[in-house]
Symmetry: C2
DNA sequence: CAATTGTAGTATCGACTCGATACTAATAGC
DNA sequence: GCTATTAGTATCGAGTCGATACTACAATTG
């Protein structure tokens, strides 16, 4: 038997997200476009590609391609051909893209969360992370967790170097900044 | 300064909802249609109208009208003219509508919540309710809270009657079932 | 190394969604 | 009664999204 509070909580998560999405058109960006900008602001360099973004959004490459066209036309994203793989495209936020994220409607919800939790959102965050992990496992999705929590992460393999850490999956050096971003390849340790 | 955990929690709420919405097409219902069915299953008799649903969804009457046309064609909802106000339309779930809600994709998320909270989702629920209250206040929205928590609710005004309670705003008798449903007019006590 | 198979991304089409506008009908206020 | 307001619908057009087909490149296989 499913506890009533669990189902009610699921309802409320939907309502909260709907509230955010319905107040979104201010900057002329739709929900998918906001999500893409947020993703690109937090993804490490292995993860800033259309395919990874499509995985993250639970969408298709075709749909994401259109989202990216729109964002590029607005000047918030630039696409460039990858050097490693010339089929692939590197995505990056422009300065304007980073600026518009300062007016992300999600910040309003974050303020409400801070208010409602009295400033300590850590327990809520931990619970939500556990829920997301369960939901992702059930849907065979990718976690898009933080690089340094990954089972392929090797800390401080080159001490003192600009990129002291290492990814054992991609065999690539990792800077401190890399290791704090989310990664399309991340798997729990 | 906004705590990092609050913003991250806001992110996760968005991701959870997106996961639910992306696995939705199973029954041939889109996210707005699911939300409408959920609402009608939980709304008291004053609240089962297109206008109240539009408020709830943060949408417009025109858009909701189309959602309702689709749901009526699928046989999940019936519309009938209101007796009190002949401009108004009463909405009701059909038996098929109630049945399809047993396959609501939100139930999957509720299961994940039950798993992640170890079966006691009450603290999470309380936090989410507080967040939603803050978000609604900020957006000048309606709360759609439970009838008996309303400042217009008068308990047991007609003891022993089938509808013992009373709404002081609408001046209408309220059954036990009425008072447990959500209401478009609800205001915190 | 040539041929095959697989992958990254884009273009395009069609069904659908949604907000805006305009409209009808009914209620409320004066 | 006359006007203003409200409930709901119809319709249009911009935009979204998934599906399909395609190009270009990479990886694999023999």
């Amino acid at each position: 038997m499913l506890p009533e509070a669990a189902l009610e909580s699921a309802h409320l998560i939907g309502r909260l997200d709907r509230l955010v999405r319905s107040g979104v058109a201010v900057e002329g960006l739709n929900p998918a476009q906001w999500e893409a900008l947020r993703y690109l602001a937090r993804a490490n360099r292995f993860s800033r590609t259309p395919a990874a973004l499509a995985d993250y959004l639970g969408s298709t490459r075709g749909t994401v391609s259109q989202t990216l066209i729109a964002l590029e036309q607005k000047g918030f994203v630039v696409r460039s051909q990858s050097r490693q793989d010339r089929r692939s495209v590197d995505l990056a936020l422009t300065r304007a893209g980073a600026m518009v994220l300062k007016r992300d409607p999600l910040i309003g919800l974050a303020g409400d969360i801070a208010t409602a939790t009295g400033g300590d959102a850590a327990p809520l965050l931990a619970t939500l992370q556990a829920i997301l992990a369960a939901a992702i496992a059930r849907n065979d999705g990718r976690a898009f967790g933080i690089c340094h929590t990954c089972r392929h992460f090797r800390r401080n393999v080159q001490p003192g170097a600009a990129a002291p850490h290492h990814c054992a999956l991609l065999d690539e050096p990792l800077s401190e900044a890399d290791s704090a971003d989310i990664c399309v390849e991340q798997e729990a340790a």
